[in-house]
């Protein structure tokens, strides 16, 4: 295993005439273009335009000074890696190298630069996600000292009409006032991934919420983001599984025409079974990995 505090690949990369420069010198459109080129041959490419890149940076607290673009000896951008920073923690994301410019262990050089940047910002941990099946990336992260934390699911539900459920229909959920959503989120009990943390949701905005409480003591709430075309960022807290099903039922009954995408559901979370019962499909899996910098 390489010691992440010894940036050997980064030094060799620079000695070979290449550079690692902060992403703050690039426009969002340029960063999106470099990222899209780098991910063109990935299992799940997920391209971005300028607007999506900007939203990504804002929603997930990406440090543009801590993130880097790799430049080769011909002064061409050949890869990118981004660093999110939050209160002593950090997150590596959007890592990629343009296929026909992959050499000099560029991916490792970018990673070492991001690790050093996280350390400079006093982060005690770095987390990241790698798509299951991307073995070269996973091997690199393990070489740098990252260990597997858990497996996460990206799931979707196409818009369709739910079969009416009289039991659920008899329970009237109460909308959570916008001003109360921050307080409600603060009471969540799950362990979210970076992009599903409260800060990500609050940065993203457009949050809505519902809560239920029954006479026999069952309770629950759901908070989610509603964008013009999609529902996403679901957070549920509940006393019983049927309450979670009822809350999801209400959301999809309220917005029957909206597509839904939920990222990073823990594969061992009982909520995954509940999502399946409401019509969700697994799209792909990610492995969450963590590097302890203490």
């Amino acid at each position: 295993m390489s010691n992440p505090r010894q940036p050997t690949a980064r030094l060799k990369f620079i000695d070979a005439g290449n550079q690692l420069v902060p992403t703050s010198g690039y426009t969002y459109a340029e960063l999106a273009e470099i990222y899209n080129q780098a991910r063109v041959d990935y299992i799940v490419p997920m391209p971005m335009n300028s607007k999506r890149m900007q939203e990504y940076v804002v929603h997930y607290d990406i440090s543009l000074n801590g993130s880097v673009v790799a430049i080769n000896e011909d002064s061409l951008p050949c890869g990118v890696g981004m660093l999110g920073l939050r209160e002593g923690r950090s997150w590596i994301t959007r890592l990629g190298v343009i296929p026909d410019r992959r050499k000099h262990h560029m991916g490792q050089a970018i990673m070492e630069s991001l690790i050093e940047s996280a350390q400079n910002h006093r982060a005690k941990t770095i987390q990241l996600e790698v798509i299951v099946g991307n073995d070269p990336a996973r091997n690199l992260f393990e070489k740098l000292g990252f260990i597997t934390a858990r497996e996460l699911l990206v799931i979707r539900r196409p818009p369709n009409t739910l079969t009416p459920n009289l039991a659920y229909d008899s329970i009237a959920p109460i909308p959570i006032a916008h001003g109360d959503i921050r307080t409600v989120l603060a009471s969540r009990t799950d362990t979210p991934s970076w992009i599903e943390e409260n800060q990500s949701l609050l940065n993203a905005g457009n949050l809505h919420g519902l809560r239920v409480a029954t006479d026999d003591g069952a309770w629950g709430w759901i908070v989610f983001q509603r964008s013009p075309f999609q529902l996403t960022h679901f957070v549920l807290n509940y006393s019983d599984d049927w309450v979670a099903r009822a809350l999801l039922y209400y959301v999809h009954k309220e917005y029957p025409l909206q597509d839904t995408k939920i990222e990073n559901v823990d594969v061992h979370d009982s909520l995954w079974q509940i999502y399946q019962q409401i019509g969700y499909l697994e799209i792909f899996r990610r492995t969450e990995m963590i590097l302890d910098l203490k």
Binding site: N36, V44, N49, R156, P158, P159, Q230, D259, F284
Partner: protein, 124 residues
Amino acid sequence: MSLIVVIEDNIDNSRMVAKLLRVADHKVLVAEDGETGLTTVFEHHPDLVLIDLGLPDIDGQTIIALIRQQPELANIPIIAFTAFPPDTAQAMATAYGCHGVITKPIDTRAFVGQIEGFIAKPIS
């Protein structure tokens, strides 16, 4: 001749499929993102839509759902064009109401026949 809308952000891919379809005497309109693709489909009511699921602005699945919600477009053939693993791609295509899936990279010799087969296929 059929009118086909290709919604694909990868220019190399869209050029290749458009060329193959045009050589086979089809009219092709190419859109490089979801919003443009949606507008093109709404304006032109094509005979078939070939759509990449990974688009830079709006997910391909969401675009498919929005097309399907228009009554006059509810039954036009939509083909998912994707690099997702075949099982996942097929499951998603079925769930979102696609007529089929063509996985990348395409088989250039079979591609036009696959597309024409979807156009000719009765609505299920």
